[in-house]
Amino acid sequence: MANWQAGQPLAIRTKNYLLRSLSPKDATDTYISWWNDAEIQRGFNMPARNWSRAEAQKHISNFNNKNSFHLGIFQQSTGKMIGFFAMFVDYQQRVAKSNICIGDKSLWGKNIGLEVRRAMLNFMFGPLGMEKVEGEVQGRNLPSFYNYKVLGFKLEGVLREHMPGFEGGRVDIYLFGILKEDWIKALKEGKNPAPQEANPDGQ
């Protein structure tokens, strides 16, 4: 592990992307538009938020880079932010939870989430010392099912009709999980190619 310490902004490079902690100045029009886009928010079973810049900045400020992280995903080739990755860490239980949003719709279906998640799983099971990583899918988000499956997560349970659906009715929550030993085994078997340049750095 390089220079990063809990509480400091985090930066991790994959082959094609830079993930770095966002600060309130990163609440650009593009970033805000992702929160206010109904199609994007459907993936979180949420309606468009109708956030102002101040509300977006407040959201970013809620993350402390210790127990909670909100990382922008930047294309290394252009420097453009294309989405974000959030991570919540329980150091006592050594379990982390994460979610991802690719805001640039032209990049949907290009497996960017896999590249980003592989790097972050290496970070969570490596420097962060996690023993398990969880994922939670609200509603029948089939692309998310795909991503968890390819990464080696298991479907551990379903919370039936656990929350209101934003379009009415109630929706299930699907709980996914992967253990550190499963992740390491998958890496050794070549099922999840280790991302290149997935090194955490301080900023």
Partner: protein
Amino acid sequence: MVNNEHMTKAKTLLAEATRRGRDEIPDNSSITNFDGWDSLSHMRLILAMEENLGKELAPEVIMEIETLEDIAKYLS
């Protein structure tokens, strides 16, 4: 039991889901070795299977589908 008809149907659905020609779908296609089988393709595939079967697939079943043969198995 999976037969040739199921395999043919599976290949057709996977080709449509991945926006490829049927001839471009390898017989040993899997979620990890066929780069056309991405997250959006997977969503289209599952929805097409459900339409074909006339019922929604259980999440446990969806998590088991990772090869062309799996698709055929659940269409049989």
